[in-house]
Symmetry: C2
Subunit: 232 residues, 2 copies
Amino acid sequence: MLPNIFKFGIAIYIIALKNSRNSQTKNMERLPDKTVERLSKYRRALFASMIEGKTHIFSHEIAKMFHITPVQVRRDIMLIGYSGSQSKGYYIKGLTELISNIIDTPEGIRAAVVGMGNLGRSIIGYFNGKRTKLTIVAAFDINPEKVDKEFVGVNCYQYDRLSEIIKKEKISVGVITVPAIAAVNVAENLIKAGVKGILNYAPKSLNVPSTVYLEEYDMITSLEKVAYFVKH
Amino acid sequence: MLPNIFKFGIAIYIIALKNSRNSQTKNMERLPDKTVERLSKYRRALFASMIEGKTHIFSHEIAKMFHITPVQVRRDIMLIGYSGSQSKGYYIKGLTELISNIIDTPEGIRAAVVGMGNLGRSIIGYFNGKRTKLTIVAAFDINPEKVDKEFVGVNCYQYDRLSEIIKKEKISVGVITVPAIAAVNVAENLIKAGVKGILNYAPKSLNVPSTVYLEEYDMITSLEKVAYFVKH
DNA sequence: TAGATTGTTAATCGATTAACAATC
DNA sequence: TAGATTGTTAATCGATTAACAATC
């Protein structure tokens, strides 16, 4: 039998634990990396299900679409503070709206693509007209033949106007799709102009200050990786 | 004081542990995912250093290029069984050759791109003429205007010839750059035709048998993720 | 020797998964 | 009740990092 002082101490500890856990899950400042990625994918899948006429969805149905486990789906949803019902699963409309509230900002995020090559055009094509809260509002290139032309509604500016346009258009995210040799300079100019996030597709790793969020993806490495695992 | 029987047992256990560790590091069947990715990047960085006239490189120099720690670099290099010297670091030529032996196959890997849009052309452009062991040898599209035309040396075939060409050209890796709606069908046909690895860029998650290696990347999700972390 | 680097182990961290009570 | 699902915790797994002996 524990003395009373210990029982009391344990009771307080359990309450403190509960509270900290709730605040962690419900009012989380910053969701885990992987959860954010998955929420973006869930949202698209939920939209598609809605179009098909569904109103509710089970965790295992979502899980199957992304070859992950139902527990993972439930954890992600729990983390953002949404609840489902054991009989019907999750209400698609409500869940979609909550994810949008979390991922989007009311004012929206404005992005620019630097490098109007095939990859740059590809990204603009993906986004154009599909989203309202995240939009690509400008493109840049050094090639005079590409400058001052529109591609699916996005104007391409001369690269030396980068800083001017970024400030004028209130652009906070830059997508780098220039050759590796130019990437460092582009990143520096984007940061100087005030962007707060960079998505770098050049096959050259960048260094950015900690105030800027950097995400890198390298197609050459990915294809070499697939080749390696095909061989093994 | 332990009885002798235990001392003996412990000695044998330690030796067994040592051996299993060595065989794990030196003759590993399959390297960890992340190590493969990094080796691909190291190789490119080492090539660049060689061109600059360097013969040796330290772990911290490599680490700095990819914002990782020197320990990670040393671990990766240890894992593939290469050794450096404490005074000079790693011999670039030797390390590059070892990485190539591990990542490449002597016969090379032949890849195809399905979907000759901006993204497909972008990937072909990255690879064309740069590598000898990993080559894109064919492209496919359903648009008759794109068919039977060459793009930087790669011919674009009509999509319904997929199976025929994949077998004829001994293609083992397929890169999917078609719209989401077509991705599932393309993957099925690639697998039926015999490819063993798929790199999927369509914003639609695929299901493949366990004999096929699948790597997926979704540009929309990546940009939404950057937007989220810019906001927070 | 002093200083720097490699090779290696143990500790830590982050994310996934197994398991199960609570609920419908 | 039986069966299925959600919400949640503890265990597990994989990868990174801290620490340090050995070496030059």
